[in-house]
C-alpha cells in the first residue's frame, strides 16, 4: 500500500506526469460531457418540439417488464409484490403514483434512452455507399464534421482552478491565451466536412447543400468574429479562463450586478454588449446550421442537403456533429456572455473560502452544466418557433446587416469606454 502511495507521489511530483495525468482526466471528462450532452440535446429537442406542438414527444422506450417473463420470471407484475413487501396498500397515493409512472408495466426512462436506441438502430443499418461517389472524401467528410466541435471544446473552462499538493489544475483542457480565436478557427474547419460531403457525393442536391454551407459559414464567421471585439475590449484578455474569472468577480457580461459591474461604465456598456449578444447568438445559430439558418440541409429544396447520400453510422456522425456544434456553440455563448462556470453574485469566492476548493469546483461545474442546458433549451425553442429564412435573406442578413452592425458596435463600445469613466 505504502509502496503504491510512494510511487504515486513520485509520479505526481514530476510536473510532466502531473500535467499529463491531469490533462487526460480533464479530457475524458470534457469528452464525456459533450457526448452526453449531444444525446441529451437530441432528447431535449424532441421533447420540447413535442410540447410546443401539443404532443408528448418520445416518452416511452422504457424497459418493459414482460422481458422478465422471457428470462424465466413467473411474476407478471413485480410492482404488486414490491408494494406488498413494504406493506403499502394498493389504493394509496404511492401505489397510484407508481402506476402513473408505469412502474407496473416497465422501468420508465421518460424517453431518455430513445436517442441511444436510435443510435443503436443507425449502427445496425446497412451502410450504403453509392457507386458514383468519390470514396476517400466520402469517408473522410463525416469525420471532419464530428471532429472540430470536439477539438474546439478544449479551451472552454468548465470550472475555476484548484490548488493540489502537486500543483495547480486549471479546469479546462487547454488553457490557451487565444481562447475565442481557437474556437473560431477550429469550428470553422467543420465546414470542410460539409463541403467535402456535398462535393464527393457527386450529385446535385448534396453539392448545392455543401455550397450553401460554405457561403453561409464564411458570411457569418466574419460578423461573429467582429461581434466579440467589444467584449474583448472590456475583458482585456483572450484567455477564456481569465474572462470567466473576470465575470465571476465583476458581474456577468449581461448581468453586471456585483463587484465592479455596478459602475456606470459597465451599465453603459450593456447597450453594445447586448447588440454583440444578439449578433453573436444569431451567428452561432448560423454556424451550427440550425433552423432558421439550416440552409445546407433544408429538406424542402435540397432533399437532405449535404448528407443525402449518407446512411448508417456516417449519417449518424453528421447528426452528432451537428448537435455537438450546437452544444459547443451554447458553451461559448455561456462562457462569453452568461458568466461561464461562475455561480454569480460573488458566490464563487464565498464557496471557495467556506467549503473548500473542490466543492467550489464541483458547484461551478454544475452551474456550467445548468447554464449549458438552459441555452440548449433556448436553441431548441428558437428552432420550433421560427420558419426557415430564404437563401437570399440569409446572405443579405449576414453581409448587409450584421457586418455593418458589428463594425459600428465596435466604435460604440470604444466611445462608451473612452467617454464614460
Amino acid at each position: 500500500m505504502t509502496c503504491i502511495c510512494n510511487w504515486w507521489n513520485d509520479l505526481m511530483s514530476n510536473p510532466i506526469w502531473f500535467y499529463l495525468i491531469a490533462t487526460i482526466l480533464k479530457l475524458v471528462l470534457m469528452f464525456a460531457v459533450i457526448l452526453a450532452f449531444v444525446v441529451l440535446s437530441v432528447w431535449i429537442e424532441r421533447r420540447v418540439a413535442g410540447w410546443i406542438q401539443d404532443r408528448p414527444g418520445p416518452n416511452r422506450a422504457g424497459l418493459p417488464l414482460f422481458l422478465l417473463e422471457r428470462f424465466g420470471s413467473k411474476q407478471k407484475q413485480p410492482l404488486k409484490d414490491v408494494l406488498h413487501f413494504f406493506g403499502i396498500p394498493e389504493t394509496s397515493w404511492i401505489a397510484k403514483l407508481c402506476t402513473w409512472l408505469r412502474f407496473d408495466r416497465e422501468i420508465p426512462t421518460f424517453g431518455l434512452i430513445q436517442p441511444c436506441l436510435d443510435g443503436g438502430k443507425l449502427f445496425l443499418k446497412q451502410e450504403f455507399t453509392p457507386s458514383y461517389v468519390r470514396k476517400a472524401y466520402f469517408i473522410v467528410a463525416p469525420m471532419l464534421v464530428l471532429g472540430p466541435p470536439m477539438v474546439a471544446a478544449a479551451v472552454i473552462p468548465f470550472a475555476s482552478s484548484v490548488e493540489t499538493a502537486y500543483g495547480t489544475i486549471s479546469m479546462c483542457v487547454a488553457n490557451l491565451g487565444i481562447g475565442p480565436l481557437w474556437i473560431f478557427a477550429v469550428s470553422g474547419l467543420s465546414v470542410y466536412g460539409l463541403t467535402l460531403a456535398g462535393w464527393s457525393s457527386n450529385s446535385k442536391f448534396p453539392f448545392l447543400g455543401g455550397l450553401r454551407a460554405t457561403a453561409q459559414l464564411i458570411s457569418y464567421e466574419v460578423s461573429m468574429g467582429l461581434s466579440v471585439i467589444p467584449l474583448l475590449m472590456m475583458f482585456g484578455t483572450l484567455n477564456l479562463q481569465e474572462i470567466v474569472q473576470f465575470q465571476a468577480d465583476n458581474g456577468w457580461t449581461l448581468l453586471p450586478l456585483w463587484g465592479e459591474g455596478l459602475s456606470l461604465q459597465r451599465w453603459a456598456m450593456l447597450a453594445p454588449l447586448a447588440l454583440s449578444f444578439l449578433i453573436f447568438v444569431t451567428c452561432v445559430f448560423a454556424e451550427a446550421n440550425r433552423t432558421p439558418f439550416d440552409m445546407a440541409e433544408c429538406e424542402t429544396d435540397l432533399v437532405g442537403g449535404y448528407h443525402t447520400e449518407y446512411s448508417s453510422m456516417k449519417f449518424a456522425s453528421f447528426f452528432m456533429g451537428e448537435y455537438a456544434a450546437m452544444v459547443i456553440g451554447s458553451a461559448i455563448v455561456v462562457t462569453l456572455f452568461l458568466g461561464g462556470w461562475s455561480i454569480g453574485f460573488g458566490a464563487d469566492a464565498w464557496v471557495a473560502a467556506h467549503c473548500g476548493p473542490w466543492w467550489a469546483v464541483t458547484a461551478q461545474f454544475c452551474m456550467f452544466l445548468i447554464k449549458l442546458l438552459a441555452f440548449i433549451f433556448f436553441f431548441v425553442w428558437v428552432r420550433w418557433t421560427l420558419p426557415r429564412f430564404r437563401w437570399d435573406q440569409v446572405m443579405k442578413l449576414g453581409w448587409l446587416v450584421f457586418l455593418e452592425l458589428a463594425v459600428a458596435n465596435i466604435f460604440l463600445a470604444a466611445a462608451v469606454m473612452y467617454f464614460i469613466q
Binding site: G50, Q53, D54, R55, P56, L386
Partner: protein, 188 residues
C-alpha cells in the same frame, strides 16, 4: 385573362427589425409548451384523459369508439340473415383489386342446398393483408354485397403466411349482415 392584384402589406420599421416579432413568436410557442406540460393544451377536451398534449396514448387509450361509420379497415366476407354465404365467386373483387391482394378459387355449390341456383361459391378465398391497401374497391364492385370493409385496424401478423386470411377467417370476422339478398332463393 383576369387577374387579382394582391397588395403586399407595408411593414413598419419595427416589423422589419424582426426582434419584436421574434419575441412574440417565442411567447406563443412557450405558451403552448407550458400548457402542454400542465396538461391543458388548447382543444384537448375529452380527447385524451391524461398526459401531455392533444394526443391519445395509443395502446392504452384507443380511438375505437370514435371510428366513423365509413371507416375502412380490413375487408371481410359476410353471411346473409339466412346464414347463406353471400359470395358467389364471380371474382370481380379479385380483378378490381389494385393491389392484387385477393385470390379466389371458385368451387361449386351443393345441389341440395337452398341456394343451388347460384351454382358457384368460393372453394377458397384468400386476402393477403400485407398487400391490401384498404381502398374499398372490392366492396364497391361486389354485386352480391358479400365483401365489406370492417373497422378492424390492428392487423399484426407474425409472419408472411400468417398475413394471408383464408375463407374461414374472413367469414368469421365478417359475421352476418342485415337484409336478404333473395335472388338466389330457388323459389323466387
Amino acid at each position: 385573362m383576369a387577374y387579382i392584384s394582391v397588395k403586399r402589406p407595408k411593414f413598419s420599421l419595427l416589423d422589419r427589425l424582426y426582434v419584436v416579432e421574434l419575441v412574440k413568436g417565442l411567447g406563443i410557442t412557450f405558451k403552448h409548451l407550458a400548457l402542454s406540460l400542465v396538461g391543458k393544451s388548447r382543444g384537448k377536451g375529452d380527447f385524451s384523459k391524461e398526459g401531455v398534449g392533444v394526443c391519445m396514448q395509443f395502446p392504452e387509450e384507443r380511438w375505437d369508439a370514435r371510428l366513423p361509420e365509413y371507416y375502412r379497415g380490413a375487408p371481410t366476407l359476410v353471411r346473409g340473415e339466412d346464414g347463406r354465404e353471400r359470395c358467389v365467386s364471380c371474382q370481380l373483387c379479385e380483378f378490381i383489386c389494385p393491389a392484387r391482394a385477393i385470390k379466389v378459387t371458385p368451387g361449386s355449390v351443393d345441389e341440395n342446398s337452398s341456394c343451388a341456383k347460384q351454382e358457384k361459391a368460393p372453394a377458397e378465398f384468400e386476402i393477403d393483408m400485407l398487400r391490401c391497401i384498404y381502398c374499398g374497391m372490392c366492396q364497391e364492385v361486389c354485386p352480391e354485397q358479400a365483401i365489406f370493409l370492417s373497422k378492424e385496424y390492428l392487423i399484426t401478423p407474425q409472419d408472411r403466411k400468417d398475413a394471408v386470411r383464408n375463407k374461414e377467417t374472413l367469414y368469421r370476422l365478417g359475421g352476418t349482415r342485415k337484409g336478404l339478398v333473395n335472388k338466389w332463393n330457388q323459389y323466387k
